[in-house]
């Protein structure tokens, strides 16, 4: 029998009761490989039936584990095989039908989001990919729970600039389609470089082709716990601080490991991965920006922010990898703006710019995330920003994503509320320097030398 000390027990209770320790998401990955039919309506029926059959008990199991261990499991979600690979159809209408079926299935099983309305086009488009991409504005604008991601770049393939441009068009069209709701549809679209196949976080979750029939992937949380440990040691040197963060994330990750093991067994699914990302929410005390402030920066964006974030991200991974042998997903600190109240505040006060966020992207995960930009942003400017984020991922052999929200009718400095976990934030200014001739060249940025590792 393992001996547990009173201090350890009370520390666990304190982390849960007072520091917002939770499991951020239990995401079930479901293969839809066996759902393809010639008639898209029949495909849609099979997609819905399979999701309901496999994920029908997901919420009940997560709730049971929450009761058993006293740890909140905040989100229960489903990710499916990239739909462009399932449908094999070149009619955008077919994809809209399938998106509606996914939305209905998510409603049936009681989850808030379902991911996998996706295509991988880093090297080029199949006819299915092109049709899916064309359908995104209506598919996302016309559903509540469906999330879309498109992988437009990789370290092995380079950046498909034609895909980047198409996605800029898609994001602008979705902003218009969902204008009445603050262009919320764009919060459900991610453009990726090196998209992971086992990511449990929305909006980028998908169930890749190397995944098993059904898997359980778990996203840990705990920015509040890390913030408190950093704040409690104002005199600690950076090397001492790194050790403290490692110890803390070890504990956080162990909770994720426990939940993943039990949930996968109870749901007859293969245990997938534990995503070590620190993910903020708009709640006070659940913020990455507040960790950076506790480290000694007045605001995120102050000189030294990239260095502080690099250290934080690395320490989180080191603590996490000791705690589980199943790391995966994105596994890096998230730096969204609207979803992190202190980050949004820093942006509103002018302490944090898009350019600084781009630098921060180079040392953590997910890139330019949940950033509201002016509604009249030109297509090429949006494509240029996306390409910049993709380049960071491509050269550094890591995942980067862009989730930009050109809020329809809004201009720089306005404040946009996206609601719920999407949070709120200022409309951030983009550079107005023109890039049209560069974007018009089209084609593909070749794979870098970093991709030639064999």
């Amino acid at each position: 029998m393992v001996f547990i000390t009173a201090d350890e027990i009370l520390e666990t209770v304190h982390m849960i009761r007072s520091e917002n320790l939770d499991v951020r998401a239990v995401t079930m990955g479901i293969s839809l490989d066996d759902c393809a039919e010639r008639d898209p309506r029949r495909t849609a029926e099979r997609v819905r039936a399979k999701i309901v059959r496999r994920a029908g008990r997901l919420v009940a199991v997560a709730d049971e584990l929450q009761e058993k261990y006293g740890v909140p499991i905040v989100n229960k979600r489903v990710a499916v095989t990239p739909i462009a690979e399932v449908a094999g159809n070149d009619d955008p209408e077919a994809y809209i039908t399938i998106a509606r079926a996914m939305d209905a299935a998510a409603d049936d099983v009681g989850i808030d989001f379902i991911g996998g309305f996706s295509a991988l086009v880093q090297k080029g488009f199949t006819r299915s990919d092109a049709a899916l991409i064309e359908s995104i504005p209506e598919a996302i604008g016309g559903t509540r729970r469906v999330c879309s991601s498109v992988n437009v770049a990789s370290t092995r393939a380079g950046i498909n600039m034609d895909a980047v441009v198409r996605m800029a068009d898609v994001v602008l069209a979705t902003a218009k389609q969902t204008a009445a709701d603050g262009s919320i549809g764009c919060a459900k679209i991610v453009v990726f470089c090196n998209a992971p196949e086992d990511n449990p976080f929305m909006a980028g979750a998908m169930h890749g082709s190397g995944e098993p029939e059904v898997s359980i992937n778990v996203a840990i949380s705990g920015p509040g716990v890390v913030r408190n440990v950093v704040a409690a040691h104002p005199e600690a040197s950076l090397i001492e601080l790194a050790d403290l963060i490692k110890r803390t994330t070890f504990k956080i990750t162990r909770v994720g490991e426990l939940v993943a093991r039990e949930a996968s067994e109870m749901l007859d699914a293969q245990m997938g991965i534990i995503d070590l990302s620190l993910a903020p929410t708009p709640a006070v005390g659940d913020s990455i920006a507040e960790i950076l402030q506790s480290m000694g920066l007045e605001h995120p964006g102050a000189p030294g922010t990239t260095a502080a974030l690099a250290m934080l991200n690395d320490a989180v991974k080191k603590g996490g990898t000791m705690a589980t042998s199943s790391t995966g997903g994105l596994s890096g600190a998230f730096i969204p703006v609207s979803e992190d109240a202190a980050m949004a505040r820093a942006a509103a006060e002018g302490a944090l710019s898009i350019e600084k966020l781009e630098a921060m992207t180079a040392v953590c995960s997910l890139g330019l995330d949940m950033i509201v930009v002016p509604g009249d942003t030109p297509r090429n400017a949006l494509a240029g920003v996306m390409a910049d984020v993709m380049a960071i991922g491509m050269i550094n052999g890591k995942t980067t994503g862009a989730r930009l929200i050109p809020a329809y009718g809004k201009k720089a400095g306005d404040w946009v509320s996206l609601g719920g976990l999407f949070g709120e934030g200022p409309v951030m200014a983009l550079s107005t320097s023109r890039n049209d001739a560069f974007v018009a060249r089209g084609g593909r940025i070749p794979a870098p030398l970093q991709g030639l590792t064999n």
Binding site: V2, I4, A6, E8, I9, V13, R17, E67, K68, Y69
Partner: protein, 91 residues
């Protein structure tokens, strides 16, 4: 099947707190296997290892009964399966 949970109780100290919590546990046909309790600066902190047979009570029933008692005597009472503590601090 027998389960072990860890009950933690925190709050302002007053007479008879341990007795009230232990009585509630006994009424649920559960057993206190181990207990430690301290009072520091007027704050009462108690940790109990409690086991029970699942045919006699459930974790949900135990939780509910202790939540009621906690409300009556001003304690925050948590009931969690022991595995979370074992997992969090050890490999």
């Amino acid at each position: 099947m027998r389960s072990t949970v860890i009950v933690t109780a925190l709050g302002l100290d007053r007479h008879g707190l341990l007795a009230r919590v232990a009585t509630t546990i006994a009424e649920q046909n559960a057993n206190v296997d181990d207990v430690s309790q301290t009072v520091s600066n007027g704050m009462f902190t108690m940790i109990m290892f409690v086991s029970f047979d699942q045919s006699e009570t459930t974790m949900a029933e135990l939780k509910e009964a202790l939540a009621r008692t906690g409300e009556e005597i001003g304690l925050q009472i948590n009931v969690q399966h022991e595995n979370i503590f074992r997992f969090m601090h050890r490999i």
